[in-house]
């Protein structure tokens, strides 16, 4: 799928809300470095997921801008994977600095990165294949679902 700006944003939100939510549900009980009640851990994990979605909308504007320098106005598959590095780092630093007040205390690094990377890869793999099975018009609309 070669995205448009609106398509990027819709796909991100949709996949985090589906694939992301399911992976998080399965992963939280076995995340390393977490103590405290499971309900508290779930709350933190889903808030982190929500933060990925909200900050991600901003990131998509950045990616869309960078894409303009490409003649083909495409976004190679691998870009969708490596962008996890800047996005993960920014979110991690924001959590550490206490800038996201509703996620307090911030999850430990091991739990954060495990969850973040597994969800990211799950979303990336889905977007690069299986997503096209139920949604036959999605790839021809730059990733728009609506």
């Amino acid at each position: 799928m070669v995205p448009t700006l609106l398509g990027r944003i819709q796909t991100r939100i949709f996949l985090l809300a589906t694939v992301g939510v399911v992976i998080t549900a399965l992963l939280v009980p076995i995340l390393p470095g977490l103590d405290g009640p499971l309900s508290q851990n779930y709350r933190t994990a889903y808030l982190v997921l929500a933060a990925v979605a909200v900050l991600g909308v901003g990131w998509e504007f950045v990616y869309h801008f960078l894409m303009q320098f490409r003649w083909e106005k495409d976004w190679p598959t691998v870009f969708g994977l490596v962008t996890l590095v800047p996005e993960g780092l920014l979110l991690f630093l924001l959590l550490r600095s206490g800038a996201i007040g509703i996620i307090d205390p911030a999850p430990p690094a091991s739990a954060f990165w495990t969850l973040f990377i597994v969800v990211w890869i799950g979303v990336w793999l889905t977007a690069n294949g299986p997503m096209r099975v139920p949604f036959i018009r999605w790839r021809f609309r730059g990733g728009r679902l609506l």
């Binding site: 799928m1 070669v2 448009t4 003649w71 299986p130 139920p134 790839r139 021809f140 730059g142």
Partner: protein, 486 residues
């Protein structure tokens, strides 16, 4: 009147004319959307949907094991594009490298991964059997499509000799789809003139015609070939010449004439600049990738008239992929003094007294060259005007169809031919004839599928079939995966 004339008439709600990959992907969509074979007919003069495509690719030096220029997830046999060809070939050939190339390396660290021609044809055959393609195929030459007074259309066809008691048969249908491919090849004027004047069709050849004799000749004695054109076919022909040179230790000299010689990145501004060099403009596929679903598709969909024509011009121009193997071969050829690329316009071609060809070439800087060669291979791939095809000529003249800003058939966003509506019927067209419309990548695998989807969704709106949602799509995908009938 038709009946009175004794011409047999068949009632069939949907006919598609052409029987190539454009017709195939359209009936594939409709079969998957739930239309039974009894409601559709494919009118064609070829036996399999890939017949013409395979002929052209083989002539232009892509036999079945070689790779075509097409994206991994552009699968005309699979409307979902999943699993991609890369996934399938990786599985079949037990080669994980394909997945690494398609997922991590292309197009930055490696060439685009592209499928083997054979993979495409094998899968088309499987899908054609699955959807009952041959139950719908009727052989013959379609002569014209005309509006019917009561709505819908008449399609007039000549069946093959001896297969029908009459010379013509007529199909009465509510919907007609035309996907007849390229109207024809057009030769460079100077080469056309040479062929006509000297009656020589052996030494001046078009790359899309069978021209194996050129390569066979070069195996028997040292020779010189002039290659003309700066597109993918020129790249392919060069590869064949260089491969043979290496494999059979030949001394072939290659003179390569570019009408437009690209020396570097080119384009109007920083947000619209294509890479190039050594004569070529470089691009992975035959359109910038976002025409099939991204930004360029979205932009073009809104443009009319002059703005649309300009957009086509901005993204157009002959180009070829910058494949590593080709770059190495050309580099070796330049260093070894047997590959000579230059800019020039050929004014005329003449035979020499010893049976060779002399090209009179004028470069933009005023230099005149007169290279002598044994053969000239025209790789420019010019296409004839749509009116060269009698079906389009007839539509333009009698049925209200008209031309788009780049001179081909103007179609709606859903590929209905503008001006040809007839009662509750609709006439659609897809493929090369519709280039210049709201959707640019029409003459490509994925472009034909984009068109087929638009057409199928439009037909669903008109009540011919049900629109397909996520659940039915998923269920149908499983049928595809297990090769079960739709």
């Amino acid at each position: 009147m038709v009946a009175q004339a004794g011409i047999p008439m068949h009632d069939i709600p949907f006919v598609t004319i052409g029987g190539g990959i454009g017709s195939f992907v359209t009936v594939d969509y409709l079969r998957i959307y739930g239309v039974p074979t009894s409601q559709m007919r494919v009118l064609s003069n070829i036996d399999t949907p890939w017949q013409t495509y395979e002929f052209l690719t083989r002539c232009s030096q892509i036999p079945r094991p070689e790779r075509i220029r097409s994206d991994s997830s552009s699968r005309p046999d699979n409307i979902w594009g999943f699993p991609s060809y890369a996934l399938e070939e990786a599985w079949r050939e037990k080669n994980l490298k394909y997945l690494i190339q398609v997922g991590f390396l292309e197009p930055i660290f490696d060439d685009y991964w592209t499928p083997r021609a054979g993979t495409v044809f094998r899968n088309l055959e499987r899908e054609a059997k699955r959807i009952g393609y041959w139950d719908m195929l009727i052989k013959g030459q379609v002569r014209m499509v005309r509006k019917r007074v009561g709505g819908g259309y008449f399609t007039v066809m000549n069946p093959p000799d001896g297969t029908s008691p009459t010379k013509r048969v007529v199909f009465r249908s509510r919907f007609v789809h035309i996907a007849v491919g390229y109207p024809g090849l057009k030769y460079l004027p100077d080469l056309q003139e040479f062929r006509q004047k000297y009656g020589d069709f052996t030494h001046v050849v078009n790359a899309y015609e069978p021209h194996e004799h050129v390569y066979e000749f070069l195996k028997t004695r040292p020779g010189t070939v002039v290659v003309r054109g700066g597109g993918i076919v020129a790249s392919r022909v060069l590869q064949r010449l260089f491969d043979d040179r290496e494999k059979f230790n030949l001394q072939t000299q290659v003179i390569h004439i570019f009408r437009t010689f690209v020396t570097g990145s080119h384009g109007p501004h920083i947000w619209m600049r294509r890479k190039g060099g050594d004569g070529w403009a470089y691009q992975g596929f035959n359109y910038p990738k976002s025409v099939w679903g991204g930004q360029l598709k979205a932009e073009m969909r809104k443009l009319e008239g002059e703005a649309r024509r300009q957009k086509y011009k901005d993204m157009g121009g002959t180009n070829t992929p910058k494949r590593r193997r080709w770059q190495e071969q050309m580099k070796a050829g330049r260093a070894g003094g047997y590959y000579h690329p230059f800019q020039g316009v050929v004014e005329r071609v003449e035979p020499t007294s010893d049976g060779k060809l002399v090209s009179h070439v004028r470069s933009n800087d005023g230099t005149i060259r007169q290279p002598v060669s044994d053969f000239i291979i025209d790789c420019t791939g010019l296409e004839a005007d749509i009116a060269e095809h009698r079906l389009f000529a007839d539509l333009l003249q009698y049925s209200g169809a008209y031309r788009n800003p780049v001179g081909r058939l103007e179609v709606e966003r859903h590929f209905e031919v503008k001006g040809t509506a007839s009662g509750n019927g609709a006439l659609y067209a897809s493929g090369s004839a519709t280039l210049g419309g709201y959707f640019p990548g029409v003459d490509t695998f994925l472009g034909l599928q984009v068109a087929a989807q638009e057409i199928a969704d439009d037909l669903a709106k008109r009540g011919f079939c049900r629109k397909m949602g996520p659940l039915r799509s998923t269920a149908q995908w499983f049928k595809w995966a297990f090769n079960k009938p739709v």
